[in-house]
Amino acid sequence: MSNIAVTDAAAPSTAAKPFLTRLGTGFVNRLVIIVPYLWLLFFFLIPFVIVFKISLSQTAIAMPPYTPVLDFRDGISGFFAGFRDLNFDNYVWLTQDALYFKAYITSVVIAAISTVLTLIVGYPIAYGMARAPATIRPTLLMLVILPFWTSFLIRVYAWIGILKPEGLLNQLLLSLHIINQPLVILNTYTAIFIGIVYSYLPFMVLPLYSSLEKMDYSLIEAAKDLGCPPTSAFWKITFPLSLPGVIAGALLVFIPAVGEFVIPDLLGGSQTLMIGKTLWNEFFANRDWPVSSAVAVILLLLLTVPIMFFQQAQAKAQEQGK
């Protein structure tokens, strides 16, 4: 692994040297880097290469159910022969069936709407937490994090009992005579929105809170003193200052929501269309591994830009933390 050689070792000042360098041997130093590096390379990066490879192979009735591509068993010539067998049939197939296109578009739209809804729900909570007396802030923070520790599946499951036609929400609304007939919420897109907002709310609130907490509120007071009405003070001062938190929160909600499976499957019923569910069905019901790989590759390409934004935001936050 020559590309992960430690270049720090030659740094002139002792204080600037990485801590383990002082062991005198670069061995431990390198081990710290190499072990997690190799692990992620093997279990995170290489699998994507395999997905890509299999998306270019043909479906076969066998186990595993695809024809091998880039087979090294026949030596180098077999390897090059494999290139001739590469085919884009699976991708052509994805463009021919309108179902896939619709599923991608719907997923992105649902994720985008849910992200905005999560922001609208999460902002007042984060703002209220940031303005809370400093003594109770840790407790409030703990209360936001706590639901994250309980199972995602359980939290989604809990909503089935609430949203069902004979569920708790309808019982409540009927008994209060707000509605005369039970609302149909479960197995609609509305239920998916509720599920995503609920499940991902902590991911939005935490980054928002950390950027709102750092804000200098005397700015707002200065604006007020100068005659600025509260709403325009919010849009001119508070919101722009919390923008890093908004962006981080939005990416943390949007990216996983696009490929969400559990929520559309349990709350959206069979009528709703999302790409994570399509991939799952393609894999588990149709057992078509090459097509589900192609679905995954396109989904990954779709998310590359937001994921890169996310990494940049992370790197920046890391810099500021120092």
């Binding site: 909570i125 696009v258 490929g259």
Partner: protein, 272 residues
């Protein structure tokens, strides 16, 4: 800073927390329901918990999940801590951008992609799907979360403590185990717990990478939920929530104790 906590702030917090907690509370309440209908209250009963313990399939799945969770969280904590050290201490090595990319990307990667890609890897290298592959998959996912938690602690770590120890003649290894490790230990512990709960929760990646004989609890719950909502699942969920809640409470009490002890030590040291 002069904080004014307006009525609007209080209301939004109360409503927000009600939204976050009410579904979980209702789920727990209805696990004690006498009636088989999950949403109609028929009196208090613990019978669903009793029938739960007679459900062999569910018990087996719980055992598998617990083992996968402990093993994967432990390995992930070691790897994640190393990754965090790499990210904070070695700012210049070739391939660092790729490395930080591989640490951060799994945090947001849709689980269906991670699950599918890991499965295809296991098939390609000829590993039989089962307990071992689920554990490997969970290590890969959760080590990145551990890395982020430990890294945030390392960033605020006062390096002069290490320098002082080494100036006083401690070897780097001794410095690491006596100074650095105790300071970042709370982060490592919460990293382990996060990894454990993530493993306990995971449905999608486990479904892809698991094989016959290694059905995890979420997989079991999921297949039962698809057949219909029953109080028995509510009871299973309640136990899971209770386990996690007790763990989190113990950890935070332990954390607080350690903090108090540390302050006492500091005061004692100052008095000399």
């Amino acid at each position: 800073m002069n904080t004014t906590w307006s009525r609007f702030n209080v209301t939004s917090i109360v409503l927000g927390f009600a939204f976050l907690y009410l579904p979980i509370v209702l789920l727990v309440v209805f696990s004690f329901n006498e009636s088989k209908l999950v949403t109609v209250w028929g009196g208090f009963s613990t019978k669903w918990y009793v029938s739960l313990f007679h459900n062999q399939g569910l018990m087996d799945a719980t055992w598998v999940t617990a083992r996968v969770g402990v093993i994967s969280a432990t390995v992930a904590t070691v790897l994640g801590t190393l990754a965090a050290l790499t990210l904070t201490r070695y700012t210049r090595f070739r391939g660092r951008v790729l490395f930080s990319g591989m640490v951060f990307a799994p945090l947001v990667m849709p689980e269906v992609i991670t699950g599918l890609s890991l499965l295809l890897l296991f098939v390609a290298v000829g590993l039989d799907r089962g307990f071992f592959t689920v554990t490997l998959a969970h290590i890969t996912l959760t080590m990145c979360f551990v890395a982020v938690v430990v890294q945030s602690r390392l960033v605020s770590f006062d390096r002069s403590l290490e320098e002082a120890a080494m100036d006083l003649g401690a070897t780097p290894a001794k410095t690491f185990f006596q100074i650095t490790l105790p300071v970042i230990l709370p982060a490592i512990v919460s990293g382990w717990m996060l990894a454990f709960t993530l493993s306990l929760d995971d449905l999608v990646i486990a479904s892809f990478t698991s094989g016959p004989g290694a059905t995890t609890l979420p997989m079991k719950i999921y297949s039962q939920v698809r057949l219909g909502v029953t109080p028995e699942i509510n009871a299973a969920c309640t136990i899971l929530i209770a386990v996690v809640a007790v763990g989190v409470i113990i950890a935070s009490i332990a954390n607080k104790r350690r903090e108090v002890q540390r302050q006492l030590d500091e005061r004692a040291a100052q008095r000399g």
